[in-house]
Amino acid sequence: MQSSEVISVNIWQIIISICNLLILFLILKKFLYKPVQNMLAQRQGLIDKDLESAREADKAAQANKKLYEEKLKNADEEAAEIIDDAKKKAQRKSDKILSNAKDKADDIVNQAHSDAALEVKKAQAEIKHEITEVSTLLSEKILEREINKDDHRKLIDSFIEDLGDSYDGNE
């Protein structure tokens, strides 16, 4: 078996070597770099898509949050209104009840006053009558004579009238 020289130059071998390098370059480019690059581009696309969707979801969530906050605020206001309404109603009701009660109480008191006044008048009349009776009797006894009953009555009545006036006036 022959061996070539340690240092030998052969044009065809050089050309083969150049072709070998170019072939390996093409193999690496087509079967290693291109698929990896495609895969990386695909991954980049996926990442971009995910980021985009995340951003959109974030935006939607923010909008929802705003909406709910507004709603919550409205609900607060509504609740306050309802409470206010209820308070006012209750106030009105209680006022009504109170005034009714007062009216009733006043009525009762007035009734009592008028009753008392009536009683007093009754009593006065009774007392007057009694006194007239008694004084007539007394003066009959004292004078031992029949005085003109009508005169007498007039006399006593005017006296009691005076008495009653002064009594009334003292009151």
């Binding site: 078996m1 070539s4 071998q13 170019l22 193999i27 770099y33 895969m39």
Partner: protein, 302 residues
Amino acid sequence: MKKVKETRYNSKFKAIDTLLIILMILPILFGILLYIVFTPASQGIEIAGARIYFTINMPLQPLPITESQVNSWLVIVSVFFLCLYLTHGMSATHPTKRQHIVEWGIEQTKKLVSDNMGEFFDSFAPFVAAIMLLSALSSLLTLVGLYPPTSDLNVVGGWAILVFVLITYYKFKCGFFHYLKSFTEPVAFLTPLNVISEFATPVSMAFRHYGNILSGSVISVLVAAALQGLSSMIFGRLPGVLGSFPFLQIGIPAVLSVYFDIFSGLLQAFIFAMLTMLYISSGFPEDDYREKLKRKAQAAKS
């Protein structure tokens, strides 16, 4: 998630994986088989070029198909199946373990290229990776006992010529006159030196790489032979088999192999790739080219 994994890693997927790995290793095994079949029994110390399997008659010069060509092809086939294996089952959402490695490697080569060459040469990443892989794997073939194609001047010379063509192509981007003018810079009387250095670039690149790998194997052979001699001198008086057994050849050549086969091979691959990037990008007049493009765009507008 679990279901996805189950459907992705079914038996068919695994069968294809195994097939690709076998196809990846098969070329190397084939190379070793060829070596065993065609290499005659050891003839002692021998420093020679690649073995010629057969010769094809071509114009100008007959073309011998040697170990360096065959081994280069084996490396290319192996790398092809490696690529298929690495990109098999790749997915954007559920990366496999090997996918992480591939992504890391590709990111690294891209970064290396864009750091050394600038953004204009971003598409050079696969080319630089091809140079590195072909050179490194060719040199590493010595680990399985095969002839490294990088210790053949024709192989590395071909790469250097390709790089030279690329350098010149990018220098021509601003026109022929600009290319000629670049030789007279910085001073006119340096023109001959500039021309010499222009042609010295591929020569130095080729000889640096080739010389390093070849000298590694030459030194390995010489040291192994010397150790054999030394061993027979020291232990030669021992009786029987013990006397002829080269004790000193145990271990010591392995240390040299770590340096010459692994370290030197990887280093030369890296240096060749770095020089390729630097020569191409430094020879390219990027600013002038951008100005030319701008002028062209303006002319097209008006």
